[in-house]
């Protein structure tokens, strides 16, 4: 386990709202992006002397571009409805991690410069100048928001702290104060095509390896194609799916489903990444530039459909923004939504009966499901509102016999973030990630103890990586996180599969 330099929160049986403790996380700051990672994103490399005026100008510019920012900075009445809703507040007790506390860091400067009351009666309305100390607070606390939108569910005006955090990060980027983790990754996407900097040859190699593994296991030659022109479906999936556990087991599952459905599909080396960290830094321009790769890949390969793999924020960008950023997609088959989620596809095939499923293959597990925040509160699956909750569970229940949900206040639209979303999945924020995972860990521990849950399924690359890293801090096994399509993969019996081995295995177990 990683070296522990902070106190790991104690899990409680019942959720507890902690008393306010000032400044417990003021020291938490991610590494600042070096100039070479700022410039490819068209941001200045370093803080200039006139950073203050530039920041206020940037705020004014964003206020004119985003209705959300303008309305949300005006509308908060400080009712307190959000104060106990953020996992980072619940895990750190720092009041600047209450959604309204975080918003107020930006709001007090907005009031000072853009409102009558703040200009003439700053003390009365809590308006403040943008000092270096305030900027430090911005950098610290706007990198303690995973943009999970849980607060926006409970706000009577729908104020979404994610919108405020994104704007704040955009302002900081524009004055040369970027975050290393996000900006370095975006630069890598521009240069190589994915977050990991995995070049085309390595990707081809990996996929070949997967084909061999699956054939060894099943005796069936399932293909994992790359850059196949004229394929029907372009699959865009987070690059973690190519090598990380348990992500890669999900990718194996997608391939098996496509194989059984009898559709032709391909990955693209140009768009070998579903993630779009442009969203995390609130930069429309960068989010658009990252999205355009997918449009270009679809055009070059001549596909008819685009399907996204298991990824939370990528699905938000895909479902909610792709048509805006890189549309219109009138060159694709109009009979299918653009884009589709892999779970929409798999659920469709399960309903059609094209998949031969042996649910008992997952009998060694009792599953629960973690709703990823961006899927739950910022997107949809299927034609009905709430399909994003039903379809993953339907698929899990179709391939597993044992499924239990966590407490109702911690799932569906009220789901708790894994603690690592929103561009915070970096080791320099480990304390924040561990503490922010507390509410989810509590809910998980309760179903483990009460219902014998052994595994938690997730449909987001960030969630999977975050849990794998954080679970051991809470005394749980990192391997208990599984991909939903890993469960599908386990249960599918491929046409022509040699499954004599499996019966032998269970006989061995019994003996």
């Amino acid at each position: 386990m990683a070296k522990v330099e902070f106190q790991i929160p104690e899990l409680q049986e019942y959720p507890e709202v902690p008393a306010v403790e000032l400044g417990t996380m003021a020291h938490s700051k991610p590494f600042v992006a070096k100039p070479q990672f700022q410039e490819p994103l068209n941001f200045p490399g370093e803080l200039p002397d006139d950073w203050h005026d530039k920041a206020i100008d940037a705020m004014g510019d964003l206020l004119g571009k985003y209705r959300s920012l303008q309305v949300y900075l005006d509308s908060c009445v400080k009712c307190g409805a959000c104060t106990d809703k953020c996992h980072y507040y619940l895990g750190t007790k720092d009041p600047k991690n209450m959604p309204v506390g975080r918003q107020d860091l930006l709001r007090k400067v907005y009031r000072r410069h853009f409102t009558f009351a703040g200009k003439y009666f700053p003390k009365l309305v809590g308006a403040e100048d943008l000092t270096k100390e305030v900027l430090d607070d911005w950098y610290s606390y706007f990198h303690q928001c995973s943009q999970c939108r849980r607060c926006s569910v409970f706000c009577p005006y729908g104020i979404d702290t994610a919108e405020i955090s994104m704007a704040a990060r955009e302002i900081m980027d524009r004055i040369g104060l970027g975050q290393k983790y996000c900006n370095e990754i975006i630069a890598k996407v521009y240069k190589i095509g994915n977050n990991l900097g995995l070049p085309e040859a390595a990707l081809a190699d990996t996929l070949e390896g997967l084909e061999e593994d699956v054939e060894d296991d099943t005796g069936v030659a399932v293909k994992y194609p790359l850059d196949v022109k004229g394929a029907d479906i372009l699959l865009v999936t987070p690059s973690a799916d190519f090598f990380a556990e348990p992500h890669v087991d999900g990718l194996i599952g997608y391939g098996k489903v496509f194989h059984e459905a009898g559709v032709s599909w391909t990955l693209s080396s140009k768009a070998s990444e579903a993630a779009n960290f442009g969203m995390f830094i609130g930069s429309y321009e960068n989010m658009r530039r990252v999205s355009m790769r997918i449009r270009e890949a679809a055009l070059e390969l001549g596909v008819k459909r685009i399907i996204f793999g298991e990824c939370g924020h990528a699905w938000r960008v895909a479902y909610s923004f792709l048509n805006t950023l890189a549309g219109p997609f009138d060159f694709l088959d109009p009979d299918y939504p653009v884009p589709q989620h892999i779970l929409e596809f798999t659920w469709g095939e399960i309903q059609k009966g094209t998949l031969n499923i042996d649910k008992s293959a997952n009998d060694d597990m009792t599953l629960t499901f973690h709703d990823s925040c961006n899927v739950a509160r910022a997107s949809r699956m299927g034609p009905e509102p709430g399909g994003q909750f039903k379809i993953p569970r339907n698929v899990i229940k179709a391939v597993c016999n044992n499924f239990v949900d966590m407490a109702p206040d911690t799932i569906h639209e009220k789901t708790f973030c894994c603690g690592g979303g929103g561009g915070l999945l970096t080791d320099d924020l480990m304390e924040l990630r561990v503490k922010g995972a507390k509410p989810r860990m509590e809910a998980l521990k309760n179903v483990i103890e009460d219902h014998g849950v052994t595994n938690m399924a997730a449909i987001c690359a960030i969630c999977k990586s975050q849990f794998t890293k954080v679970l051991p801090y809470y005394g749980m096994d990192m391997d208990m996180i599984v991909s939903v399509h890993q469960l599908v993969s386990n249960a599918i019996i491929l046409t022509g599969q040699t499954d004599g081995d499996e019966e032998d295995e269970s006989a061995d177990d019994a003996a």
Partner: protein, 245 residues
């Protein structure tokens, strides 16, 4: 005309202008500012009709607040609904003849002043005693509650404790509205009424420059007023379209 009459006439003319101009300008700003991305908090309605229903549930029943905290919901909802009812009853002081429904609800609605006061006291107690809410409160947040309580308590007292000459007050406002103030329409020099009217005028003046902007704001909130149909319909703002050229 008495000094009080002239002063309050000037005050209410100014307050009305500031309220109307301020609100119109703010609403125009919200209207003109584009929402470049689809960001409804999901699950969200997939039709325009569904969005209208969501908004009605939000403004009439405070649906999201109900999900959050029952005490704040209870006090907040009671205060707002009582305020609207009391305001409705106040139409009687401006109309001649008074509209039927306003007459009918009058005897009942006057007691809702107490509901309004209880709601405000509950909200203030939360602001004072819950450490998280105390932390986020600026002086203006406390003063806003004080102002609303002044309005509620002084108004209730003119009805239930020391009757004001409402006929004279009504004559004043009728004359104010028709620009026909005269010696016949002097405002009664009743301290309770002076406090009541003064605090109402202050509320009108600060409305467009304070957090009371939540009232128009909620209707412009993209997380609540957008249709969840990004795959079916391309949504793009003018400034974003320029990036495509």
């Amino acid at each position: 005309m008495s000094f009080l009459t002239v002063a309050f006439a000037a005050l209410f003319y100014a307050a009305t202008v500031l309220l109307v101009v301020g609100l119109v300008r703010r609403i125009a700003l919200y209207w003109k500012t584009p929402a470049p991305l689809k960001i409804p908090t999901t699950p969200a309605p997939v039709t325009q009709g569904g969005v209208v229903l969501r908004m009605i549930r939000e403004v009439a029943f405070f649906e999201s607040l109900f999900k959050s905290t029952k005490w704040t919901w209870l006090f907040g909802w009671v205060f707002h609904m009582a305020l609207f009812a009391v305001l409705f009853r106040h139409l009687r002081y401006f109309q001649e003849p008074v509209w039927g429904p306003v007459v009918w609800v009058g005897p009942l609605f006057k007691y809702l002043a107490f509901a309004m006061i209880i709601g405000l006291l509950g909200l203030w107690a939360r602001r004072l005693f819950v450490d998280r809410v105390r932390y986020i409160s600026a002086p203006s947040d406390h003063l806003m509650l004080l102002l609303l309580l002044l309005i509620g308590v002084s108004g209730a007292m003119t009805t239930f404790v020391a009757h004001t000459d409402v006929v004279a007050v009504k004559a004043f406002f009728r004359a104010l509205m028709t620009f026909s103030l005269s010696d016949e329409t002097n405002l009664p020099t009743d301290p309770l009424m002076v406090v009541h009217l003064l605090s109402v005028a202050i509320l009108m003046i600060i409305f467009p420059i304070s957090k009371l902007l939540h009232a128009p704001g909620v209707f412009f909130s993209p997380t609540r007023n957008q249709i969840d149909n990004p795959r079916e319909q391309r949504h793009i703002s003018d400034w974003a379209r320029k990036l495509e050229q």
